[in-house]
Symmetry: C2
Subunit: 103 residues, 2 copies
């Protein structure tokens, strides 16, 4: 079963450059791993809730592939003082497409 | 510019049924709104960080479309005591596809 990593990061403003630099290194490692399908890094626009400045949504073929990456690797982004990752593993419960309303 | 809503929900176990019921009502309303493109509700598998039990990732054509929905509507899921939404509006900063590593 494919699995979605949703990693929500609290990143203090003064740590943003360092966070992005290390995240790029981390994702390069992930992108070459067996089972990696796709990742999308989102940046908060500041237009609504700003708890998390960055959110990575990544699709993996299965949880074992995801876990295998960590056997010989610690993501640098998680070691930056002040940066708090929340890396949950999710299944898709519902897909919603646009609908038209009967009037 | 299209915009991604990422809404991360803290949901106490005893509130899950109520949360899902009201979320279905909310999303039905959203799915009929102009500018709504797609939504995907994720459920935490419990295999890693479990801060957020549910995360909705939704794509909208622009921020104005998203905001217009709230003019005459308050999402019920945000009114359940104990349920904490974190609804941030994001732009996609980076798309990552699988790569092959030179050896």
């Amino acid at each position: 079963m494919s699995i979605t990593l949703i990693n929500s990061f609290v990143v203090p403003p003064e740590k943003e450059d360092e966070f992005l630099r290390t995240w790029r290194g981390t994702i390069a490692h992930f992108a070459s791993a067996p089972g990696f399908i796709h990742a999308r890094l989102h940046r908060n626009t500041g237009l609504n809730d700003t708890t998390f400045q960055y959110v990575n949504v990544a699709l993996w073929e299965d949880v074992d592939s995801y876990r295998a990456v960590f056997r010989n690797f610690t993501p640098a982004g998680q070691r930056i003082p002040g940066v708090e990752p929340h890396a949950g593993l999710f299944e898709v419960l519902m897909e919603v497409e646009p609908s038209t309303v009967d009037s």
